[in-house]
């Protein structure tokens, strides 16, 4: 971990897609510590997915700089960069024509691993994300939503990245599965000493999972801090409103529990 610290530094990033729709990011600066779990929160169109994509160069900043592990990403090879960063896609993004095993092993294949080594690593990863080995030869279409999400996480972890980028990874599944998935992932994050950036529109998820939350609104970073800091001292009305939701939910649950006891 100390040998090669993989932290992210984004300096004054601006992004325009050049189609007249203005700027998706308006001078965002952000810092992610090694080993940290950061959640990017905001409504759709706030720029959080774009910000995430700057890190592995699926999007390039119009202005500003992005450093990963202290090195400017624009100076290196984007293909090599992406192969050493885990990425979990919105809507899972599994390759429909490949089996579960091939999906998980795809980056390893690209890196030139031999078949036996890939097979062994796929078995490890299935175990890691708590999927049965029997699932390996199946096609993604035959998986449940939760299973597909776990395969997506396993694929991102395949090449043992130190940095994980996750774009709404636990969306589109039922609340119970979602809860199990996110708790399992947080455990993996701790066990594997990963650095994780998670994009979500679900504030509750961010509050429960993340060490630190960054709130985006219309391409601007409006506030960042620990969940406690954001709950205690929201800087803008937008943040206050955003944080009010988990608070209300928690109070309601507490009052129901209290009511049951009495």
């Amino acid at each position: 971990m100390e040998a090669q610290p993989l932290a992210i530094e984004i300096i004054e990033a601006w992004k325009s897609y050049g189609n007249g729709s203005g700027f998706a990011l308006k001078g965002v600066s952000l810092h992610v510590e090694t080993g940290e779990f950061l959640a990017l929160v905001g409504t759709s169109g706030s720029g959080k997915t774009t910000l995430l994509k700057l890190v592995n160069r699926l999007a390039e900043p119009t202005r500003g700089r992005v450093l990963v592990g202290g090195a400017d990403v624009s100076q290196g090879d984007p293909i090599e960069l992406r192969r050493r960063i885990g990425y979990v896609f919105q809507g899972v993004g599994l390759f429909p024509h490949m089996t579960v095993a091939e999906n998980i092993g795809v980056t390893l294949t690209l890196l030139g691993w031999n078949e036996t080594a890939i097979e062994k690593r796929v078995a490890e990863l299935l175990e890691l994300v708590r999927l049965p080995q029997a699932i390996a030869p199946r096609l993604p279409a035959s998986l449940s939503g939760g299973q597909a999400q776990r395969v997506g996480v396993a694929r991102a972890l395949a090449a043992s990245p130190r940095l994980m980028l996750m774009d709404e990874p636990f969306g589109a599944v039922d609340p119970i599965t979602r809860d199990a998935l996110s708790r399992d992932y947080r455990a993996l994050h701790d066990a594997l000493k990963l650095t994780t950036v998670l994009v979500t529109h679900d504030v509750m998820e961010a509050v429960i999972l993340a060490d630190r939350i960054a709130v985006l609104d219309e391409g601007r970073l409006v506030q960042e801090g620990t969940p406690q800091e954001l709950l205690a001292a929201p800087k803008e009305a937008y943040v206050k409103e955003l944080m009010a939701m988990p608070r209300r939910q928690a109070e309601r649950v507490r009052s129901l529990q209290g009511g049951a006891r009495s």
């Binding site: 699926l58 090599e80 919105q90 993004g93 390759f95 024509h97 980056t107």
Partner: protein, 519 residues
């Protein structure tokens, strides 16, 4: 029971040659079409302007009638061949396989191009982004993700193309490529419906079989059954070579090529020439159903060694003459002209004439008071005339109309086979018949004399290719045919082939003709 029909037996006997040539041609064309279309599609997926250009060009090609496209390649290749000869001293055959291959390959491109582009463009953007996100290069993304996902759409295009190519390949017969179309063209000309149906069914079955084979390949690719795919591929290749080789085998060791245009008299005469050569111990094959314009160029180019043409045809269509001097003058000038301009040798006339004549039912002619072309002008505006596909565009027709002041109510082009039925049934009032047709006697039609000699004479002349003009063996064998065939014998032979209860194949008619004239 059906197998006792000699026509069915005859059809089966020709199957190896026709099917083999058809398979060899259509698979080569499909392979070439694929080899051109897939890379073009891959390039154009990322270049919208090029894509538009390519698809438009492919669509335009598709709108050219396939027969015309095939025919257009012949003169083009002939010119290229002459250029190649001038530049490198080496010439290639512009007849048959090559023009058919190129035209069919072009024809196959639209469905393959369009489906490949559509398939690739249609791959979900999220999946393409995922491919980049896991660290694929654009090329890896194309081969590992986009192409496999577009495969069903691409294969649908390939299958459409294969059915088109196999069907259209039947039209390569007139440019000198043997195919299942030989059944259809010969059958139509000789009213041999067994042949026509046989050819159509064979082509349809072949198309279905290839379509199913491609479907099998697709299933194996999708299931990634590499071993089975390799086995199926190897099996198909062996089958292909075997069937394609049938035709090679059937036509192996051919020394001389005798050409024939696409009508019964030509089949009989070509068969007669081949039989005479074979009888003298020289091997010879016949290439039938060549277009009028194609066959002369093929003779000049050396793809055909000998064939029978008609002096009037050469006079008007090749020499572009509009005057109509006496018969001897036409023959003499034509012989000199062909020798000087093309080094083509006119061995001589066969002894009969196959001229354009206007023919009509006797009762109809009597009712209108028509005895010769001179009497026709007054009634012409009320009459419909039927003719073959060529006549109404030929200079002879213009000359005839001008000489007699003819202006018909309607000019209907039709298959010569149906012309006689049409005039007998009264669908048209008169037809442009051929003087050596057996049907003139069969239906007792009146042929109208041409007192002004507006139509040139059409003596059957035996032409020898430039490269064979000094070939003493060839000319020695064919010389005895000169001046030997009277018009009555030719009509008998033609009638034997075109129908009636005692219909026989051209080869048999040729044997009987020889038996009759060699006494």
């Amino acid at each position: 029971m059906a197998s006792f029909d000699p026509r069915v037996q005859e059809a089966w006997a020709r199957l190896p040659e026709y099917l083999g040539a058809h398979v060899a041609l259509s698979t080569s064309a499909l392979a070439l079409g694929l080899a051109l279309s897939i890379p073009l599609a891959l390039i154009s997926v990322r270049a919208p302007r090029l894509r538009w250009l390519l698809l438009t060009a492919a669509s335009v090609i598709q709108t050219i009638p396939s027969l015309a496209l095939l025919a257009l390649f012949y003169p083009l290749l002939l010119a290229l061949s002459l250029v190649a000869k001038a530049a490198f001293g080496a010439q290639f055959s512009a007849l048959g396989f090559l023009p058919s291959l190129l035209a069919l390959a072009l024809y196959s491109m639209l469905p393959i191009l369009r489906n490949t582009v559509t398939g690739l463009v249609g791959v979900d953007d999220a999946v393409k982004e995922a491919a980049l996100g896991v660290g694929m290069t654009p090329k890896q993304s194309l081969y590992r993700v986009e192409l496999p996902l577009a495969l069903p759409v691409i294969m649908a295009g390939v299958r459409t193309a294969s059915v088109w190519v196999i069907g259209t390949a039947t039209l390569s017969t007139p440019v000198g490529q043997t195919s299942l179309g030989n059944y259809i063209f010969t059958g139509l000309q000789t009213q041999n419906w067994v042949f026509v149906v046989f050819g159509c069914v064979a082509a349809a079955l072949l198309a279905l079989a290839v379509d199913q084979l491609l479907a099998l390949f697709e299933r194996l690719i999708v299931k990634r059954e590499r071993k089975k795919l390799a086995a199926a591929g190897a099996g198909a290749l062996v089958l292909l070579l075997a069937v394609g080789g049938l035709s090679e085998f059937a036509g192996s060791g051919a020394g001389y090529v005798v050409g024939a245009k696409g009508f019964p008299e030509q089949y009989v005469l070509a068969a007669l020439l081949s039989q005479r050569l074979n009888a003298a111990g020289l091997s010879a094959v016949t290439r039938s159903d060549l277009g009028s314009a194609v066959i002369f160029n093929a003779l000049v180019g050396g793809d055909v060694d000998a064939y029978v043409d008609y002096s009037g045809t050469i006079w008007t269509n090749t020499m572009h003459r509009t005057d109509t001097p006496k018969r001897d003058v036409v023959l003499k000038e034509m012989t000199d002209w062909l020798k000087q301009n093309y080094r083509v040798k006119v061995l001589g006339t066969l002894g009969f004439e196959n001229a354009y004549v206007l023919a009509m039912r006797r009762d109809r002619a009597a009712a209108l008071g028509i005895r010769s072309l001179d009497d026709l002008a007054a009634s012409a505006p009320r009459l419909a005339v039927g003719g073959d596909y060529e006549i109404f565009g030929r200079p002879e027709w213009r000359a005839l109309r001008e000489a007699y002041g003819l202006s018909f109510r309607q000019e209907r082009a039709m298959q010569p086979t149906f012309m006689y039925k049409a005039v007998v049934d009264g669908e048209v009032d008169l037809i442009t018949a051929f003087s050596s047709d057996g049907e003139i006697a069969e239906y007792d039609l009146l042929t109208l004399p041409d007192p002004k000699q507006a139509i040139p004479p059409y003596d059957a002349v035996l032409l020898i290719a430039p490269k064979r003009s000094e070939d003493a063996r060839l000319t020695g064998v064919l010389q005895p045919l000169i001046g030997r065939i009277p018009i009555e014998r030719m009509r008998e032979a033609n009638l034997l082939v075109t129908g009636g209860p005692n219909q026989v194949p051209p080869e048999e008619a040729a044997r009987r003709l020889w038996a009759a004239i060699s006494k």
